[in-house]
């Protein structure tokens, strides 16, 4: 075992022991925080997948991705406004609205992200490496500006249309919303895994990520594959935005900046470019943030999350799952 690996395991073991102590002393609080971390982490996982897929295929840190996620919540709350939804209870209209709006938002975000790719990234495919990074930052400002123009600087209310059923088991409070978030995220991640591993387009995406030139020589349409990657990444980000809105019922235009950075951290944490890694990383970061919020203090959460990011990169640069991303 090498020294960095040893350091990594020592860190992990310390964290686990400290948490286990908490779990024994205050089991109820521990489980409560765990549930909160799990819901939070499911959303981060959905956003992190978009970061990791885009990075895997064109090595771009897509700074606009967090804003695509936020825009999903904004578009969702805009469209829901057209339905005669009830915020006091779960009606049939609510169910229909949810079933229609959820996929619609995903598709709209997918379309928008493909358009962004077409305008801001594709023309710079062979430009110096930092040029697309700057356009990504520009697109991020642009999207934030669109949301600011649309709904103003204040926080925006997202309709509370899910059933408010909640129950307390052994002192632990959890509701339908918690289960909804985790289940929907899990279904989407499973669908993505099937898509990447079983379909022809998924295979093309993996091939392009591995070696773009070779993939092209094999007859893969690179531009179409990259556009598809952006489309799928944004589908998940749009779903993440919808879930965020449904769960917290409030969004603001700069939400994507902070949560985008955290989701990106999650992607790195799981080993950037690695799809199962991003899902696991999202969950872990969500849990870490929740535990840090309640055991250390919320003003230290940012320090903890980014400190762990640096620690992971120093001790285990390949990420949590330890798969090596091909160097290009």
């Amino acid at each position: 075992m090498s020294l960095p690996d040893f350091g990594f395991y020592v860190l992990c073991a310390t964290a686990v022991v400290l948490l286990a102590a908490q779990a024994v002393i205050h089991p109820t609080e521990f489980v409560q925080v765990f549930i909160f971390g799990l819901t939070q982490g499911s959303i981060y996982a959905l956003v992190a997948l978009g970061y990791t897929m885009v990075y895997g295929i064109i090595e771009l840190i897509n700074f606009a991705h967090g804003d695509v996620f936020t825009l999903g919540a904004y578009v969702g709350s805009g469209i829901l406004g057209f339905f005669a939804i009830s915020e006091s209870g779960f009606t049939t209209v609510n169910l229909i609205a949810l079933l229609l709006v959820f996929p619609a938002v995903m598709l709209i975000m997918g379309g928008i992200n493909v358009a962004i790719e077409r305008v801001a990234y594709r023309p710079l495919r062979n430009a110096p490496r930092l040029a697309p990074l700057i356009t990504a930052i520009g697109m991020s400002f642009f999207l934030e500006g669109v949301m600011f123009l649309w709904r103003g600087p204040a926080t925006v209310h997202f309709p509370d249309i899910l059933p408010k059923t909640a129950t307390t088991i052994a002192g632990v409070f959890f509701g339908f919303k918690d289960i909804f978030v985790v289940v929907v995220a899990a279904i989407l991640v499973a669908l993505l895994a099937v898509f990447i591993n079983r379909t022809k387009l998924g295979k093309a995406m993996r091939a392009t990520a591995q070696d773009r030139d070779a993939a092209q020589l094999m007859g893969i349409d690179i531009n179409r594959t990259i556009a598809a990657t952006f489309f799928i990444g944004a589908l998940l980000a749009g779903a993440g935005g919808m879930i965020w809105g449904l769960y917290y019922n409030t969004v603001y235009y700069q939400l994507g900046f902070r949560s985008g950075l955290i989701a990106f951290t999650a992607a790195v944490f799981g080993g950037i470019g690695n799809i199962p890694g991003a899902a696991v990383g999202g969950l872990v970061i969500g849990l870490i943030a929740a535990f840090s919020d309640s055991y250390i203090g919320s003003k230290w959460t940012q320090v903890v999350v980014f400190g762990i990011l640096i620690g992971v990169l120093v001790f285990r640069p390949t990420g949590l799952l330890g798969m090596r991303v091909p160097e290009k």
Binding site: Y55, E59, I61, V119, A120, P123, L124, N126, A127, P128, L130, A131, P132, L133, I134, T135, I137, G138, M139, S140, F141, F142, L143, E144, G145, V146, F148, L149, G152, F257, L261, F264, T265, V268, I272, K299, W300, Q302, V303, F306, G307, L309, I310, L313, V314, P317, E327
Partner: protein
């Protein structure tokens, strides 16, 4: 030496000279224009506006120029992407702010420290460089974008730490009443103070924007000379070798870790230097001044100006500073007065539905800024004034690619 040989030697010498001339020509012209502008600008604006507001604006632009020159060493020369550059700026600013203000009197230390500015400039520089080395040492072995991510995390942590240790730094209340620089007695002559011969007004920094302006110009000039010498040194060539191909550079005997660490440390030291100066000028330092957006702005300045080319980076910093801090904030007012002058003044009236044309423009500034960034990168992905060497490399690569495409067409 025989005549033909001497002729051949001088010809090759001349042709080499002319090639170098071609590379450096444009840069010298840019520097000339910049020096003239730096001298004319304060004179003209003080004469025209009868105030020094524009001069202190120019001083603010000056820190960004210093920051951009420093980040250019890391990103442009050595090819390391640093997304947390503002952290070193914060470290430099807080180093000076804490050691030259009454702040520490209300901290657990109970003693205010007032160290002289000139000493602190260098202390701040070394503290920032030290922080860069500590961060860089374990992480520079990482390849590619992992370094960018580590610096991003570092840039997020540092301002948060200054918030959280509020016993020492005042946290969100910021550090204020920071000491102003004082010129040593041997420089103060009849031309300083209120004597009969005043060269630059009252040359003793008591919040005098002109004094700060002169000082930042001197610091920038020193930084440019230092960095261009570094660029032409053995170390500079090593940086470029690493930027182009790290494996090949290592095979040529370059110690890649030390070389990268030096780039990182030198870049950070510029940021610390600029930070101390910023703290002295603004006299108020709060963690909010060093968020991610500052790192990003400086990075955009470097890329926009032309990575690796010092004169280009200076131009990029000035242009972007003007756009972000002067043009965009003044847009709403300009649009309002334009509407008034062409008879559409009714658009300026605020109602509950319509925030007025000025308010609406203000809401648009984010979109405009984003669009400007995208458009500029699409039009000139290599930057406004790219370094000539890189430009030729890019052209060469493009030609090769075209040739390859032609060959492929022939083959099919």
């Amino acid at each position: 030496m025989s005549a033909p040989r001497r002729a051949a030697a001088s010809r090759s010498f001349l042709s080499r000279l002319s090639l170098r001339e071609r590379i450096r020509d444009r840069d010298q012209a840019v520097y000339g224009i910049l020096i003239i502008a730096a001298i004319v600008f304060p004179l003209a604006t003080i004469y025209a506006t009868d105030g020094t507001a524009l001069v202190s604006q120019a001083t603010r632009a000056g820190y960004f120029v210093l920051l951009a020159i420093g980040l250019n060493v890391v990103v442009g020369f050595a090819g390391l992407l640093d997304l947390g550059y503002a952290a070193f700026f914060a470290i430099g600013a807080y180093t000076y702010a804490l050691l030259a203000s009454p702040q520490l009197a209300s901290s657990p230390a109970h003693h205010a420290v007032h160290l002289p500015f000139w000493l602190m400039l260098f202390v701040a520089m070394f503290v920032a460089a030290g922080a860069g080395a500590i961060l860089g040492f374990p992480t520079l072995r990482l390849r590619g974008d992992y370094l960018a991510i580590v610096t991003l995390g570092f840039g997020e942590i540092v301002p948060q730490l200054f918030y959280n240790f509020d016993q020492w730094t005042g946290g969100i209340n910021a550090v204020g009443i920071i000491d102003q620089p004082v010129l040593p007695a041997w420089i103060q002559g009849p031309w300083s103070g209120d004597g009969p011969i005043q060269v630059v007004r009252n040359f003793n920094f008591g919040g005098d924007p002109v004094a700060f302006y002169v000082l930042i110009c001197i610091l920038i000039a020193a930084a440019v000379i230092l960095v261009s010498n570094l660029y032409r040194s053995r170390l500079g060539r090593a940086w470029m070798a690493i930027r182009e191909d790290e494996v090949a550079a290592a095979a040529m005997g370059i110690n890649t870790v030390t070389t990268k660490l030096l780039a990182f440390g030198i870049g950070a030291s510029f940021s610390g230097f600029a930070g101390a100066y910023y703290a002295a000028d603004v006299s108020l330092v709060s963690p909010d001044n060093f968020l991610f957006i500052v790192s990003i702005t400086v990075l955009v300045m470097v890329v926009l100006g032309g990575m690796g080319n010092i004169s280009g980076v200076i131009i990029g910093a000035l242009v972007l500073y003007y756009v972000v801090f002067s043009l965009l904030p003044s847009l709403p007012g300009a649009v309002e007065s334009l509407a008034n002058s062409i008879g559409l003044g009714s658009l300026n009236v605020r109602t509950t539905e319509w925030p007025g044309l000025g308010g609406e423009t203000q809401r648009l500034t984010f979109i405009i800024y984003g669009a400007i960034l995208v458009a500029m990168m699409l039009l000139r992905p290599q930057g406004l004034l790219p370094s000539r060497i890189r430009e030729q490399e890019l052209k060469h690569a493009a030609v090769q690619e075209e040739e390859a495409a032609v060959e492929m067409e022939h083959a099919t």
